[in-house]
């Protein structure tokens, strides 16, 4: 079949193994301790080499596989460093620094994610990182961090470790257009994971929490919140596949599909996170339960996406015929 969206057995196995690795090393409960995520278990799993070309030491898998894996990472609220590492290796490869690319993908050289703000660049989970993948408007580049002055900054609601760069950032190699698209694909994949996990957490809670003598999920208002979360997640997940497949096929509409994806992903993830908090009631508002973590992760990931002018692309479904009179 040339048009087929069935999950292959091979991919299913990769995802099953990834799920085990994530359950072992990145249970969501870890975030209550507030420690930074180590990248080593992900590197050992081969996360960062999965989509690397085989002649450069990778597994040569496609964008679809890589996106699915990152949606699992998103479910586990893994640090955005994971996307940064995946992309940093590609940027280094694009700059023909194969040694650096392999060192990054192998986990020997640490990389974090960063984004510019009017008050200076912010780095996320930067502890020990030698480079940052920096989002600056439409530009995505790999900047060296050695010798830079930084100060700690509190993250919204006191979540992950943020650092503000207080000295001038050096320039670094920029991501090629297709790597920039891949970056936003993977960030969106993680946002999908956030949206799905927020949905699942809310649905589990709605099945067990009882009020007025019934599980709250029997009340239509709560049931419909659940349905809306399912609708959003399904829409995003289908678009993620479409965007990944068109990138893999180097189709002319790949830019259009990634732009649509990047437009939907933060909106849906934030909405599912919001509904997830609401379904939990008081405990949803507490820092002792996980519902709020999905919201903060959605904000964090959203900041890493580039701008996409959705109307600038040729549409794959442009009309061929004239409207009937």
């Amino acid at each position: 079949m040339t048009l087929d969206l069935t999950l292959t057995e091979e991919l299913r196995q990769v995802l099953d193994a990834a799920q085990q690795m994530l359950d072992t090393h990145y249970p969501v409960s870890r975030l209550r301790e507030g420690a930074a995520d180590p990248m080593a278990p992900l590197a050992e799993f081969g996360t960062f080499l999965l989509g690397f070309p085989e002649d450069a030491g990778g597994a040569g898998l496609g964008r679809v596989e890589e996106a699915q894996l990152h949606s699992l990472l998103g479910r586990h609220l893994v640090s955005p460093s994971a996307v940064a590492v995946s992309i940093a290796a590609r940027i280094a490869l694009g700059a023909e620094d194969v040694d650096l690319a392999l060192a990054i993908a192998g986990g020997e050289v640490a990389v974090c994610a960063g984004v510019t703000t009017p008050d200076g660049p912010l780095l996320i989970d930067a502890g020990g990182a030698a480079h940052a993948v920096l989002r600056d408007g439409a530009t995505l580049s790999l900047v060296p961090l050695a010798g830079l002055a930084t100060e700690d900054a509190p993250m919204m609601g006191h979540g992950r470790a943020l650092a503000r760069v207080t000295s001038a950032l050096p320039a670094g190699p920029e991501a090629l257009p297709e790597v920039a698209l891949l970056h936003d694909l993977l960030v969106s994949a993680q946002l999908l994971g956030v949206a799905e996990a927020a949905r699942d957490l809310a649905v589990d809670y709605a099945r067990t929490r009882e009020q007025f003598g019934r599980p709250i999920g029997a009340f239509q208002a709560i049931k419909h919140h659940g349905a809306n979360m399912a609708l959003g997640a399904e829409m995003l997940s289908a678009q993620l596949d479409m965007a990944a497949l068109t990138l893999d096929a180097r189709a002319p509409d790949a830019g259009f599909q990634v732009a649509a994806l990047a437009r939907l992903a933060p909106r849906i993830a934030l909405e599912n996170a919001r509904l997830g908090i609401q379904v939990h009631g008081g405990i949803g508002f507490s820092a002792e339960a996980d519902a709020q973590l999905y919201l903060k992760q959605a904000h964090l990931l959203r900041a890493l996406l580039g701008p996409h002018d959705m109307l600038s692309f040729d549409a794959p479904m442009a009309p061929t015929g004239k409207a009937p009179s």
């Binding site: 479409m242 009309p319 004239k322 009937p324």
Partner: protein
């Protein structure tokens, strides 16, 4: 997972595009009445004669049994060419009554009806809803009394689309006296020309007469017209075929993408304006509906609930797109036109065939496994 057209796919798509551009009607379908019937039947016959009829139907029943991937290509070209909406008076026959006959009908029933449906020779309507039985369909009360080899039907149906121009009706009635809810019903082929049938067309809020009230006064229907088991009509009514679930709404869902392109062309928004943002959202959402349509068509194994998420997303997006057209037109929208009719018609999307609220209940209960609410 792969999306890559083979040379054969491309040849098929190009042939479809060329045929559609040469043959699709240049005018909009007439709003209602016998003219709309003639228009729909002509178009179906033209499709059939051109070799593009019954693409989704199985080969054994005169169809072409095309795989879902080919149907996607066909319907993409169909909507891009702006061929007539598939949600017209031929919809029930092609996407509901026909598939039900294929699944549950006798050989005689199939032989009588299926070829006529495919060739554009008969129009069907659906008679399920009643004044007292809408969302709660199982509370229906129209009766069919068994008398010898006849059913004597009495009662009333409502909102039956195109009943005024239909040849046949798929009629769901209570045939077992004293039975309750889903039990004791039968699914019957009702010839709309039978004595005792009175049809009162009802104008809808778009000003068109698409649905009707139907009254049955001692209407005599031979028992041979029961499809599936006598008193087992709920099973028949709930039988949907894989191809039907995958294809019935394909064109409508894909058409949203074309509608958005049309709006962008109409509005020509200034970059960065509020309208540009709004159209960007609509364009992205329509793209996602297309992606969902692909998923339902191309992912195995298909599940019974595959279509339910995309269906509701589609219905609500269509309403937002049609509403955006009104906002772009401004006061000019006060004058009735095709766009205005499409806008007003879109209000039915979240009511007909199961309301949005009922669909959210179904998603919550059957897909997410949340506890069911109290039922009678």
């Amino acid at each position: 997972m792969r999306l890559q057209l083979s040379p054969e796919d491309i040849a098929f798509r190009d042939a479809a595009r060329a045929w559609l551009l040469d043959n699709k009607p240049a005018t909009r379908a007439p709003e209602d009445g016998s003219e709309s019937r003639a228009f729909a039947l002509d178009w179906l016959a033209k499709l059939y004669d051109g070799g593009w009829g019954g693409l989704a139907w199985p080969k054994d029943y005169g169809g072409q049994g095309l795989p879902p991937a080919r149907l996607l290509l066909w319907y993409e070209e169909y909507v891009r060419a702006r061929a007539p909406s598939t949600l017209d008076c031929s919809f029930v026959a092609l996407n509901h009554a026909g598939p039900t006959l294929i699944a549950c009908g006798t050989e005689a029933q199939k032989a009588t009806h299926l070829p006529r449906i495919l060739k554009g020779q008969s129009i069907w309507c659906q008679g399920f809803s009643e004044p007292g039985a809408g969302s709660d369909l199982a509370s229906l009360r129209t009766t069919g009394r068994v008398e010898g080899d006849m059913l004597i039907v009495n009662g009333q149906k409502i909102w039956s689309s195109y009943a005024d121009i239909a040849d046949f009706q798929e009629l769901l009635i209570r045939t077992e006296p004293g039975s309750k809810r889903h039990k004791g019903l039968s699914w019957v082929i009702c010839d709309m020309s039978l004595p005792g049938i009175t049809i009162r067309p009802i104008r809808n809020m778009a000003g068109a007469t698409h649905f009707a009230e139907v009254f049955y006064d001692d209407v005599r229907i031979p028992l041979t017209q029961v499809v599936g088991g006598l008193h087992d009509g709920w099973t028949t009514a709930m039988t949907t075929l894989g191809f039907e679930r995958r294809t019935a709404a394909m064109a409508l869902q894909l058409d949203l993408s074309v509608q958005v392109e049309d709006l962008i062309d109409l509005a020509r928004p200034t970059p960065g304006s509020a309208m540009a943002e709004r159209l960007s959202d609509l364009r992205a959402e329509a793209a996602a509906i297309r992606a969902m349509t692909y998923r339902v068509a191309l992912r195995e194994p298909a599940t019974p609930f595959d279509g339910s998420l995309v269906r509701l997303s589609f219905a609500e997006l269509e309403q937002r797109i049609r509403r955006a057209a009104m906002d772009i037109l401004g006061p000019a929208a006060l004058v009735h036109s095709g766009r205005v009719a499409d806008y007003l018609e879109s209000y039915s999307e979240t009511i007909a065939g199961g309301t949005a609220e009922i669909q959210r209940n179904i998603i919550g209960e059957r897909i997410l496994g949340l506890p069911r609410e109290a039922r009678p």
